[in-house]
């Protein structure tokens, strides 16, 4: 359950690799959160950052957070899935190296090259900078994303290889037979395996389409006469973006399945509903992305209606299986709460609660009024900040019990209270028609920005405490007692 478990199974290098991931995740998370806070403070007009720099920071925050959420998810997934299938530590480390190279390229594209086309690099904006960034800067960003994508591709393929060697097929590893009642529930794969299988299926497809549109963008940068259909590019980008960011949650949620039971002393029951939820989620994640294009009236109406209906359907597995499962697991279990258990529990709650505003915005009639307002960052920060990242921070605290000490609850409460204020400010501003991605806000919008800034500042302090506690406990502990 602790780092020792990793150590005994794969030797020192696997343990070191996991720790390296967690250290990188913790530090990059903090840096990106500071970027986020700077944006909020600018919108609140409490500090003064010029629009060109604001949009660079926004691009870095978006790409950095999406990437690091993926890395957080990968850490959790790899840590737990290797208890069930053979995986290669070298590949795991390679992914981290690819990530770091990609991150450097992206940071360079922004802070040296001025690239600020947002993390979604919506075609053909990278080639139309208005002289703010060069083609080379944009290319550095595209190559950065490609590096990160290649790393993840390798990681997922390696896990796929391990899963196939044990389960023989992806369907078996996902529990498809159990999902449809064709095989006994008791013979189904453990949650970590089912979740890792789902993540690799969707992410491999997502990364391939993402890579294709990145290459198209690269060509267009240097050969402007190479025209590509903007709507097709948007479909590809949002397929990739939606899949990748959602996969982060589906990887990180393994922390809920694995860590909560340690503290409640109740096994996480996998049954038909559980497997059905994962099979359906695999399909839903792949076909729901048109809900990002609801205001593209040129899209076929059936695709947009599909986007809406599947958005609603996607909520069911989350709410009725994972959230419900977490509640049942904890209900009068006699659990003695600590920060690790609290954070993964909050992670399950944040994911479930974030589903509500997400479904609202996935409804075409509502999207006409909420699309690209701050409602959007409102809903996704709910299930990323209070979901994915809470799960990861729970994992981080769990594997280093020494960090689970006197200061940790302070970090926890700052995080949860600050995070709630922060997302509610976004949602309320969105309902008041405040656009997202605006460097400069109207005076009447400032109250939301200021409340949001205060929440954001609390989050940053909370995460600072949790991450510093982790770093101190890792560096001060002799290797053999790190898991004590």
């Amino acid at each position: 359950m602790t780092i020792q478990a990793v150590q005994t199974r794969g030797g020192i290098s696997a343990r070191a690799a996991v720790l390296a991931y967690v250290v990188v995740c913790g530090l990059v998370l903090l840096l990106m959160m500071v970027f986020g806070l700077l944006m909020r403070l600018t919108q609140a007009q409490w500090i003064d950052i010029q629009p060109d720099l604001f949009y660079v920071i926004m691009t870095m925050h978006g790409a950095g957070m999406v990437g690091i959420a993926g890395l957080c998810g990968a850490t959790v997934m790899w840590y737990f899935v290797r208890r069930h299938v053979p995986v290669t530590t070298g590949i795991f480390v390679a992914n981290l190296v690819f990530f770091l190279i990609g991150a450097l390229l992206i940071l360079g594209s922004g802070f040296i090259g001025g690239f600020g086309a947002a993390w979604t690099f919506l075609f053909p904006l990278p080639a139309h900078s208005g002289d703010l960034w060069s083609a080379n800067a944009a290319a550095a960003y595209m190559f950065g994303l490609l590096f990160i994508g290649v790393g993840f591709l390798l990681l997922h393929l390696d896990i796929a290889r391990g899963i196939l060697s044990v389960y023989g097929g992806l369907g078996a590893a996902l529990g498809v037979k159990q999902a449809f009642g064709l095989a006994p529930e008791s013979e189904g794969p453990p949650p970590a395996v089912a979740a890792s299988t789902m993540a690799l299926i969707v992410n491999i497809l997502g990364i391939l389409l993402g890579a294709a549109v990145l290459v198209i963008t690269l060509v267009n940068l240097y050969v402007p006469s190479f025209a590509f259909n903007a709507l097709a590019a948007k479909n590809m980008i949002f397929f990739f973006g939606h899949v990748f960011i959602n996969a982060t949650i589906y990887m990180a949620v393994i922390a809920v399945y694995e860590i909560l039971p340690v503290y409640t002393h109740r096994a996480w029951k996998t049954n038909q509903a559980f497997y059905l939820a994962w099979v359906l989620s695999t399909v839903f994640v792949l076909i729901v992305y048109p809900h990002h294009l609801l205001m593209d009236f040129a899209m076929p109406t059936w695709a947009l209606v599909l986007g809406q209906v599947v958005s609603w359907l996607s909520g069911l597995p989350v709410l009725l299986v994972t959230a419900f499962g977490a509640l049942t697991n904890v209900y009068r279990s006699g659990i003695k709460w600590n920060t690790a258990a609290g954070l993964v529990f909050v992670g399950a709650a944040g994911w479930a609660i974030g589903v509500i505003p997400a479904i609202a915005d996935g409804t075409i009639e509502v999207n006409s009024f909420m699309h690209n307002t701050q409602w959007v960052p409102g809903h996704f920060h709910t299930y990323l900040l209070l979901g994915t990242i809470a799960m990861f921070l729970g994992f981080l605290t769990h594997i280093t019990p020494r960090s689970n000490n006197a200061w940790a609850p302070t970090g926890f409460w700052l995080y949860v209270v600050g995070g709630s204020i922060f997302v509610l400010a976004f949602l309320t501003a969105g309902a008041a028609s405040v656009p997202r991605r605006y460097a400069v806000h109207l005076p009447s919008w400032l109250p939301y920005d200021r409340v949001g800034s205060i929440g954001a500042a609390l989050v940053v302090v909370g995460v600072l405490i949790l991450v510093v506690r982790f770093l101190v406990s890792v560096t001060s502990a002799a290797p053999e007692e790190a898991g004590a």
Binding site: P51, Y55, G116, A117, L122, P124, L125, H128, G130, N229, L231, K234, M295, D296, F297, A298, T301, L304, V305, Q308, V309, W312, L316, L320, A323, F324, L327, V330, Y331, R332, S333, W337, F345, A349, A352, I353, I356, P357, A360, T363, I364, E365, V366, S368, F369, M370, H371, T373, L427, T428, G430, A432, S433, P435, R437, Y438, A439, V440, L442, S444
Partner: protein, 178 residues
């Protein structure tokens, strides 16, 4: 205003979910019970919740899919009703809107396109609330219909990130009483 309704419903549902998690968390170490019976009654409850969710899902989707903003899905205009075509062209970082003055009761049909990158055509009423929007995409003309129902200065804001002056890309539409 639909935004207020959606905000209220969302906050209430989010609050109920949060309360549920808090209630379970707070009561968790109070009185220990066996897991078996908890699971059994939880599964019964879940079956009911599933049924409820399906009903809500069908009702909500049935209701909202009847009100799509896409022109092909709109009810036919009453005979003799005039639709004012409006050419909208977006270009970093300006709007060209012709014509850009209307009167109350008039239905405008905005034909929205872009010369360079993606922009977002969002119509704000005089109180600065979004009343309609559509994407402005190069190579496409998206058609958005809106009937003005109050006089005053409407604003058009860009709602798709389009580069460094994205937040300055706005213009006005004047609507006079009939």
């Amino acid at each position: 205003m639909i935004q207020e309704v959606v905000w209220s419903i969302s906050i209430v549902l989010m609050g109920i979910l949060a309360a549920l998690f808090i209630w379970v968390a707070v009561g968790a170490d109070a009185a220990l019970v066996n897991y078996g019976p908890v699971i059994a009654s939880a599964y019964r409850l879940r079956t009911w919740l599933f049924g409820l969710a399906v009903i809500i899902l069908i009702a909500a989707n049935y209701d909202t899919i009847g009100k799509l903003p896409y022109v092909s899905s709109l009810p036919a205009m009453p005979a003799g009703a005039a639709i004012q075509p409006v050419e909208v062209v977006a270009e970093q970082w300006d709007w060209s809107i012709k014509p850009n003055a209307f009167h109350v009761g008039q239905t405008a049909e905005f034909r929205v396109t872009s010369k360079d990158v993606n922009h977002g055509f969002a119509l704000y009423d005089p109180e600065m609330h979004i009343v309609a929007q559509v994407q402005a995409m190069p190579g496409y003309t998206n058609v958005l219909r809106y009937t003005f129902n109050e006089p005053g200065v409407f604003h058009v804001l860009c709602l798709e990130y389009c580069g460094v002056a994205h937040h300055q890309m706005n213009t006005e539409i004047k609507v006079t009483a009939q």
